[in-house]
Amino acid sequence: MTRIDGYAPIRDYAVIGDGRTCALVARDGSIDWLPLPDFDSATVLASIVDAEHGGCFELQPDEPFESTHRYAGDSNVLETTFRAAGGAVRVIDALVLAQDQELAPMRELVRSVAGISGSVRMRWRFEPRFGYARGQTTLQEQLGRVVAKQGSEAVVLGSWNAGAMSLVGNAVVGTFELAAGERAVLDVSATHGEPAVIPRREDAERRLALTQRFWGEWSARADYEGPWRDAVVRSALALKLLCYAPSGAIVAAPTASLPEWIGGTRNWDYRFSWLRDASWTLRALLRLGYFDEAQAYFWWFMHASRLTQPRLQVLYRVDGSTRSAESELDHLEGYRGSRPVRVGNGAADQVQLDVYGGMLEAVFQYAQARGRIDGGTGKQVAKIADYVSEHWSDRDSGIWEVRGGPTHFVQSKALCWVALDRACKLAERGIVPDHSDRWRRAADAVRTFVDENGWDAKRGTYVRATNQPELDASLLTLALLGYDDPQGDRVAGLIAAVQRELADGALVYRYRGEDGVGGDEGAFVTCSFWLVEALARAGRIDEAGALMDELVGCGNDVGLYAEEIDPSTGEFLGNFPQGLTHLALVSAAVAIEDARRGAQS
């Protein structure tokens, strides 16, 4: 692995987490991203967006080495193996889970080092920089540990058999020799606004073992048998990492401002929960048999959106609150100079009509799985459908939340139809109050509008917006969500157009036109999986399977995906790992298996 100007390729990262926050671990053993205590908190380690000042936790041989990493079985515990001239060592990294009723740190990162062969001299360097590396981080030795503090935040570094700790500038450093069969442990326990809990070595190691066992048991419950089981289970594990356990919310990605193009300005904070992902999330969780997570997410989004209902906000914070002011961190240089580094997300204030389709489809799936929903929720759902019947003709910013001004996006209109259609179906089953006459009239009006303004008969495809004749890969969702017959001529035309105009090999760009931001971006991996699913639903199963094989091969060495990939280099771009990509992967794999079973029967 080669770093460029101190930056590791995004493809060379793996993620670890505990259901509250995530850390990115590079293949060379450096942890370069860690917000504390939660996903959307300020970072303590952020060298991925400023290699010199962001803060990192390096751990690697003190001599030339080669390294590989993988997850320990089907878990979110990471194993990095270093091979040097003197021997080999393995580092096991995890944000560990605690048992009920034990006094454990609020958050705890455990790095366990085991000698495999020979003897290797290791070095480590822990440089915490609180508050996105703003302000002064104070380091001091205390009871044989090093405590780093800023305001109400603190982390405590403990080490066992990992050499003497030395304070050098803003960092704590150490070196140690590890022979085959020997073990060392480094432990970072974090607190926020309360006294820190300082763990013992046996506590840290016990929690590490417990964590590995939990992930293994959780992933074994995944109900999918098919040729892409490894990719599906890894996606499920990645999605579970993105679940904010205290509320049930799911963040789009655990990082902020990883660029969609190196040196570009498309750098956004994804540490929020987007309601549009609701339908894909419920579908994946229910299909894989994770009903508890699906129920928690359903309760969360129905509860979180209460403040704004019947209008829905595009995104919500993981604690359910609506504040998400966007700001730029000018003191950070950005990943390989990709400025600005943004935190918060201004898209929260946009109007995006597709959100309603995503949410009502999710409600429909949940009601199908459970058989009913309570009366209060049913009334809320009916009010939302009423709102859609009144506002479907508004201009909006579309699924990609473009910043070039609102317009009539065809995918948004079609998703309004999905919302109204699902509301009618829920009313038919007596699950929500019956306003279906009004909803059906509005749905028919939406379809007429799309037919008259959103279909290009010459090219045989839908267009992006009524004033934008180019194509948009999000239109594939019309085939996936039941707006169009997936085996009909229109979807066939749409698939052909996407393959012709937006595909580059197996990868698909989301669009080619302007979006008010400027600059380039990579191919959008979610859209690539949507194409697979559209092919499967169209009955082109072999074609879908071949494309799926190619896309599964595009993941990194631990099976994770960023938001985008540069088709010419294979380089990962954008926030990582991207939840929507993994949701689309699961949905595509399931659709192919369902289509195969349907064809056989």
Binding site: A104, R306, D319, G376
Partner: protein, 160 residues
């Protein structure tokens, strides 16, 4: 000053408090739903939770009215202003500790800051001053509790 006056005040005050918070929900000021929060301690079925929650909420309304009455007796004075002051203290306690700290600690279906991936709770924690349920939740809750206290104090002083 009578205990029946305080209990009547507790009933009327709870109706007013509940209605005020419900109006706050409808106006988009807060997502705090006390009957749901209380009812889901006993069941994860929303319909049952609402019924149980309302019952528990009114029982709490009577119990707090009795506590207010005890204080009125101890200081030898009752009145709507004194009741409002007690309501203010009650509101601060409810927003700052009762719902924020104690409820997540005992609630089997509510997340807490220390809930990790091994658990899947159904309700998000309220956060400091219940701000997770809306920025104005603490203000709405405080005003509703002041109204409750004033009503309990007024009824306790007037009914003989």
């Amino acid at each position: 000053m009578t205990i029946w006056g305080a209990l009547t005040g507790g009933l009327v005050g709870t109706v007013v408090l509940t209605s005020a918070l419900r109006v706050g929900q409808e106006l988009g000021w807060t997502r705090m739903d006390l009957p749901l929060l209380l009812g889901t301690v006993f069941t994860s079925d929303r319909n049952r939770a609402n019924v149980i929650g309302y019952a528990a909420h009114f029982v709490n309304g009577f119990l707090f009215a009795l506590a207010y009455y005890g204080i009125f007796r101890a200081v030898g004075h009752a009145g709507w202003i004194f009741g409002a002051v007690l309501g203010l203290v009650h509101g601060v306690f409810a927003s700052g500790a009762l719902v924020t700290i104690l409820l997540p600690a005992i609630h089997p279906h509510m997340g807490a800051p220390w809930t990790d991936s091994s658990e899947t709770p159904l309700l998000e924690p309220p956060g400091f001053l219940m701000r997770n349920y809306g920025e104005r939740t603490a203000v709405a809750s405080l005003l509703a509790h002041v109204a409750y206290g004033a009503i309990v104090g007024g009824f306790a002083a007037q009914l003989t």
